[in-house]
Subunit: 358 residues, 2 copies
Amino acid sequence: MSQYSIAVLAGDGIGPEVMQEANKVLDAVEKKFNVSLNRTAYPVGGYAIDTEGEALPSKTLLGCEQADAILFGSIGGPKWDTLPLEQRPERAALLTLRSHFDLFSNLRPARIYPGLESLSPLREDIAKSGVDVLVVRELTSGIYFGQPKGREGEGEEEFAYDTMRYSKREIRRIAIAAFEAAQKRRGKVTSVDKANVLVTSRLWREIAEEVAKDYPDVELDHIYIDNATMQIMKNPAQFDVMLCSNLFGDIVSDECAMMTGSMGLLPSASMNEDGFGLYEPAGGSAPDIAGQGIANPIAQILSAAMMLRFSMNLGDAADAIEKAVVATLEAGVLTGELLPAEQRENAASTSQVGDEIV
Amino acid sequence: MSQYSIAVLAGDGIGPEVMQEANKVLDAVEKKFNVSLNRTAYPVGGYAIDTEGEALPSKTLLGCEQADAILFGSIGGPKWDTLPLEQRPERAALLTLRSHFDLFSNLRPARIYPGLESLSPLREDIAKSGVDVLVVRELTSGIYFGQPKGREGEGEEEFAYDTMRYSKREIRRIAIAAFEAAQKRRGKVTSVDKANVLVTSRLWREIAEEVAKDYPDVELDHIYIDNATMQIMKNPAQFDVMLCSNLFGDIVSDECAMMTGSMGLLPSASMNEDGFGLYEPAGGSAPDIAGQGIANPIAQILSAAMMLRFSMNLGDAADAIEKAVVATLEAGVLTGELLPAEQRENAASTSQVGDEIV
Ligand SMILES: CC(C)[C@H](C(=O)O)[C@@H](O)C(=O)O
Ligand SMILES: CC(C)[C@H](C(=O)O)[C@@H](O)C(=O)O
């Protein structure tokens, strides 16, 4: 029997309750697919600050190092927003994990599920046009991590600066990830840049063109980031895979997520070159609805499916989960935020949705 | 009689034909308000490349220096897209003019006009919620102009870099512009940044807070750029003035423009500290529809109104133009892109719309 070990970092807000449902689903996978998915829970985020004094305790980092993958919930909340930035959950835990494990390849799918079009903030005809985008975001370089960064000077001339920086190697590996993904999808990569202004974007475009030569079956085009934010609204169905740098991917993936109108359904994967990865829902910790048993567990469950597919090569199990999710949506077992206001009394609870998927 | 001189740079694509209508309206203003608006036309953009060998000939720059304001059409097109980037119309003319005249304060209003909600790509209830946003974008600093910028290294480790850079003085003057604008509007400034990642954004936030102290009647809040692109889709009516750095303003203003669904109606102003400014439509040169007499001249005409208001202190004349535009829209004198497909045969031409506004 294949054995895998998973570091489970549930975190704050709705993290623990949606993680419980993902665990139920992983239990079912163990039985049905005869694998062993050993899970160990570790503290992270605000909860870890409260109990251990820091957002990413060393025992958590060590546990992640020993595992085959990290299943991540969500972190942060108003309680920890007044801490100095470097100690806050998002930076101290999430950005540190990304960079520590070199999780450069961030996949963020966003689709509008048939039947759920009315949740989209877009006009009905656009929402119904068949929207299914995969944002492939570079996650460990660019202006997030580029050096130097700092403050200098005095008085009104004091200035702050950040460095956007990309090497050919960094661009090439994320471009390859995008083309590989596009081959398994609709065969189209749209690379997002600002090549009319940024030198990094020109190198980005150059390398994207080079990589494209190895994928003659995939079409490549380029779009400026400002135009991309427009086209996502006007005609999102034109996009298959969107290849983005760290900052532009942050922006584009959030706009794509919002466009679906159902953030609670969207998973994400952040992987390195060895297949190790961190898998987390696209949405945040939603402290306002935490602890009420009404949060949607699907994003967490689909994140677990991505983990099985990409870090454990258990594509069949991932397929089974994804099919069960679609069946659950079609059966109308829906948490409140997916229902029109007048039908919210019929909403399923977090655990009812988990049970149905199991 | 007050006398003003205007450098008219019509440019490429639909630029010349919409400029003709703006000129008609300015002729009417001269008579009605007893002012003299002396206009001199200069070549710019692709047209200037073809006729003079460069996108911003020195006689054009000199003409702009001698004028009280620049009324700008639009530039660029496929014909000049294969030129080296530094020679292309957008960079060689537009970015050079912005920086030469220190046009740091870029105002880009975006509103959904009552009656035109169905043009918006947003869901009807959102489009009808009363959307009227002013994006105030810093235009002469940030990552567009920050030094150093370049390429270094060899082989796969060769890297490119850009510098995002802001001084306190640069942030303060654009923040003041945003607060001044908010005082005349609905009293709310939303500052857009990525302060959880960028040092420049932290300084941005710090100075925005300092400036806010001088405007106790204006409310200030902060939003991350990724969340901003989501909120613009989900609930754009929450925004009054959005204060943005150069790059984030490029993105936010285009998303706001698209959200209205009527790019042909949106003007913009780019001003320096002396009240000198460049006024141009938000949309591009639209080479695909150029020369057919079907382009919407309203964005150009409203740009002329902004010019009268901000560079010539002719608020009454600007008000009169803006009222005439609303009346024209209400009267249904509309170019084709504002009409549903089945009514396009009743579309007004570029010059009919201009005449109606006159
Ligand atoms: C929390 C923040 C630093 C993070 C980012 O900008 O990457 C988040 O927005 C995300 O997209 O995962
Ligand atoms: C043409 C381009 C350089 C320019 C910019 O990015 O500023 C344009 O997108 C704009 O917004 O005016």
